[in-house]
Symmetry: C2
């Protein structure tokens, strides 16, 4: 019986058989590591996630954080779980030893975090926001800021947030109006102190009592000499705004002027507080005056660029959330399909024969196999990206690092969006496998479906990522990103053409080659449209078609590996590899052909949506 | 500003411009009716739905029925709304005058009910279950049963349920084990009395205090002479089991032995109680002994056939629920897109320009146009089916009635399933248009998404309807149903080829003709597979492909009408017709091509899902 959180076997396939995480231990940064240390980290994660995160997942959903106007109440299991995570040192799993980290490769760190996310997305959000926040600060904060804020974050003493959106500015960050006025003080880096005022919306983990302090990373605008805000993203700067002021000795001082104005009540992800925060409304008066004390991070007006360090990481993290929620839903559906008796085969005319487990029905296997192809395809994609992060950071040659960076830039919008789309579909199928039971809160799968629906919205909506992929990534550096990816696909296709590879996988390789050639051609056609509005009109379709091609590639990679091993494997392993081969077959027979009409549509420079008039709706 | 429940303009287009409901008034049954009486019924429905149903839709969701072990508490607004519906005489809107009905045609009655369903699916479920229950009884009950039960149902004094599933028998009704033992008594029809014992699951409206009595229609098995239950559906009989015994004078007598064992807690549709009911456990002892008193309806062992009267009606009703939830979500998204400012055009480089309403973004229009094409396509389909019900019942010639029956039989699984699939997708897009706001319960659209997800599960799952369509309907009467539908599509295609029709619509007609020819060919191929398991393996794909073709046909019908009228119309009407033309264009350019790969898959007799082994998952 597999765990219903994640499949350890599949994780090991991705990490060790495919992405060769152990090879990273030859690099200086990871030289203390080995398969054993990686496995130990996974064991710890699996244990804590199973024991302390999964058990209160439904309880959190049923008892969402409550705000009584003064403080927020969260069920106590959340803090217990978070403390155990911190105590195991996992908050800094990927960090330098110097920061009390473990220097785990990103790809292993992501496997560790996958357990927590799959077990309880709401509770684990507090952790991954904190890690993302601290990682951002590491890249652009001063030494003093690292000491004051980053160390306590990695120690789990403080938790972090990212405060970007405002009620009137979500996708359009250039329109934020939170102001930061200089408030220089004596003392070290006193010139970095500002006072902030404004409202921030959709702040996950924006208020709670789960940690000693909350470190808000806030985008705000420093007015120009005329007192007016600079329009556009160029006017945006990044600030640390702690909930409580941190004294020079690290102790907590006064309460800062940041207050919770209200909680949003979400369809899913209910256990994570999501807040409207008011900065500088004067409820608290640190050092005797209103205004939220904030510390400039990096240079003025470089805020968005600095925050993007976090957003790229956060986007791969969102893809991971989508993928693992898909996995856990799939594992639940699989368990149900094996144990629920219902009905008989169409050709069975004798109603006195015992009912069959629903797994025996082809349509149920369709729903399970579709889930497997979506969720294991998504997992492969996000782990591939995580491996690229390691490559970008530690590959020996500058060329390899640059190549990894190009791949990562191109794949990020896909890794963020594809799992969010198809693993929600997987969750829907998991409900469907359960029939009426799946629609009830007495079972678990409907929660995954609700939880997962967020992932196409936050960290840039689906549409925004379509624009990012087609409007930026596909044309950046003269198309170098697209071509970098094409080279990787080409390498896989070449492997599939080697002697000894099955005729079927050779056919799949040819399918993928044709689709990719078409994508390259369509990209050029779209840029030849001569009108940016036409080029970008159907960017979401471009994102989806390219995503399917990329995941087909992920499946071909997995299948090539499985095909190599299946014949010589012991029975249980043979089953595992046959599953990979069948899921690959499903993806190429059932899924990849969907791309054809999408590329036809794009190639036709279809203007149906562009031409649609408001008055016609 | 349109209502956010339904678009009256679109309803009128369907009823009067397309389906010519007024022509029905030439038939004897509807001769007292006119456009004016139809409009008056719609006015009443719109008013009551807006005033009394919509306002507590969210409150019902937030305060689901509560069972304290003794009784069920439901927020008081529900009863107020239901009473107003009954008081307006709408429960019997479609019934004979003799039953205090209005003799409205089915197509108009469905338009009336659409307002209530769109306004509040949970509250209106109590009504439509009651109407379906009473309609079933009308077809097979005795005169005495009609007096005792059907009249109070249509008067809104009693409410009804349908009790089919059991905890271990959902899709497989042949496995029910509820027993009915003869318990003949003196008096009229005393031989029809039985005592029932067993457990029924998923009983919507199974317990409440909203009406004086609850009339359960229950499937149960009468044991054979050896005391054993007859295996299979042949052993199933239909019974009336009232919550309280009804005396000969119509007054309520003893409490029957039917008790609520527990409520299911659903993801959506929370306002409708959904129950596990125990029959005959002995908690109550009518006439001094345990066992739920039930009255046989129709002949023994004919229960499933009799219940199917209700199930076919219920299935079109489910399609309607899917469609109208799609519509209301779309109207909410439309309103939001017109009023929410965010971002600028890609080519706009000046960030100091004001933000645009999000309607100005092509991707938002894509999401709205997709919704429009799904929800108005679904509405057309279910109204077309309702019109067929009228045709089947009242067309002058027997040939026309039989033809309508064939169309209806073929279209029912599609009308049930297509809206349930694509209008959930519409609801998901409505959330997406709202961004983060759409994901919160402070807005309305996430509830529609949750509510609508039920429709692919109840009244036969998606997979069951795939088997019904391909395994039964497509081959019944030597393929006569498929050909009946082909003839209708052919007639539309011929209209599109007439002189004066735009080149574009002619192209659409050719697309539809090609797809339909392919469906006919693929149907034959599948039946030529020589193995029922292979024929039916991918029945869900067949259902989805055929559904898309049918909805494309619905769009071509609407577009032909709109094209005829658009040029001579006044501006607001011209906008309306242009909207229809653009949505048709969208469906043919964006949606219908999706059918190509589905039909390719079916034609290949793909066995990927059939071959998948349990151990490989």
């Amino acid at each position: 019986m597999q765990s219903k959180i994640l499949s350890r076997r599949d994780l090991e396939f991705l990490l060790y058989e495919w992405l060769d995480a152990v090879a990273l231990t030859k690099r200086p940064r990871f030289e203390d590591h080995s398969r054993e240390t990686f496995d130990a980290a996974l064991d710890t994660a699996e244990q804590i996630a199973s024991d302390l995160f999964a058990p209160h997942n439904k309880k959190s959903d049923n008892n969402e954080p409550h705000f009584d106007g003064q403080s927020v109440t969260i069920i106590p299991e959340v803090k217990t779980a978070l403390d155990a995570f911190s105590a195991a040192g996992l908050m800094a799993a990927g960090q330098d030893y110097e920061l009390d980290g473990m220097q785990l490769p990103c790809v292993v760190e992501k496997a560790v975090s996958a357990y927590f996310t799959a077990a309880n997305i709401s509770t684990s959000s507090y952790l991954f926001l904190t890690i993302g926040n601290a990682n951002t600060l590491l890249k652009c904060a001063t030494v003093r800021q690292v000491e004051q804020f980053v160390r306590p974050l990695f120690a789990g003493k403080f938790f972090g947030t990212m405060c970007l959106s405002e009620p009137h500015a979500g996708s359009s960050l250039s329109d934020i109006t939170t102001r930061a006025l200089p408030d220089p003080v004596d003392g070290p880096e006193g010139e970095r102190q500002y006072r902030l005022s404004g409202n921030k919306m959709w702040i996950s983990a924006g208020e709670h009592d789960l940690a000693g302090n909350i470190v808000h990373l806030v985008l705000a605008k420093i007015p120009g000499p005329d007192g007016r805000l600079i329009p556009g993203v160029k006017g945006i700067s990044l600030f640390i705004v702690p909930k409580s002021i941190v004294n020079d000795d690290g102790s907590l001082g006064e309460r800062n002027d940041v207050v919770l104005a209200g909680l949003n009540h979400k369809m899913g992800n209910r256990g994570t507080t999501n807040c409207l925060l008011n900065f500088g409304e004067g409820k608290f008066k640190p050092a005797g005056k209103a205004g939220a004390v904030g510390y400039l991070v990096g240079q003025p007006h470089q805020g968005l660029m600095n925050m993007f360090h976090m957003m790229n990481e956060a986007r791969i993290g969102v893809g991971m959330c989508g993928a693992v929620l898909g996995v856990t839903g799939y594992l639940h559906a699989l368990d149900y399909a094996r144990t629920r008796p219902q009905g008989r085969h169409p050709a069975q005319k004798d109603p006195s024969m015992p009912q069959l487990p629903i797994m025996a029905h082809t349509d149920v296997r369709r729903m399970l196999l579709a889930q497997k192809s979506y969720v294991e395809g998504a997992m492969a994609l996000v782990f591939y990206c995580a491996r690229l992060v390691d490559e970008q950071a530690t590959a020996p040659s500058p060329e390899a690092r640059a190549h990894a960076g190009r791949l990562l830039d191109f794949l990020t919008p896909i890794a963020k969006s594809w799992p969010a789309q198809w693993c929600v579909e997987a969750n829907s199928l998991a409900i469907q496998v359960h029939g009426g039971y799946g629609y009830t809160r007495e079972y678990n799968v409907e929660q995954f479906y609700r939880d997962n629906r967020l992932n196409a919205i936050h960290e840039g909506t689906h549409g925004i990522h379509g624009l990012d992929l087609l409007g930026r990534k596909a044309s950046m550096q003269g198309g170098a990103l697209l071509h970098a990816l094409g080279a990787e696909l080409g390498a896989t296709i070449a492997k599939a053409r080697a002697a000894g590879v099955s005729a079927e996988l050779q056919v799949h390789a040819a399918q993928l080659e044709a689709v990719w050639a078409r994508i390259v051609e369509v990209t050029a056609l779209l840029y030849g449209a001569g009108d940016l509005n036409k080029t970008l009109a159907n960017a979401s379709v471009y994102l989806e078609a390219t995503g399917h091609a990329v995941v087909a590639w992920m499946w071909l990679e997995q299948a090539l590996l499985a095909a190599n091993k299946v014949d010589s494997a012991v029975q249980s392993e043979r089953d595992f590899y046959n599953g990979k081969l069948q899921a690959c077959r499903f993806f190429f027979n059932w899924e990849l052909p969907k791309v054809g009409p999408q590329l036809d549509l794009l190639a036709s420079i279809d203007t149906t949506t562009l031409d649609m008039q408001d008055a016609w709706f």
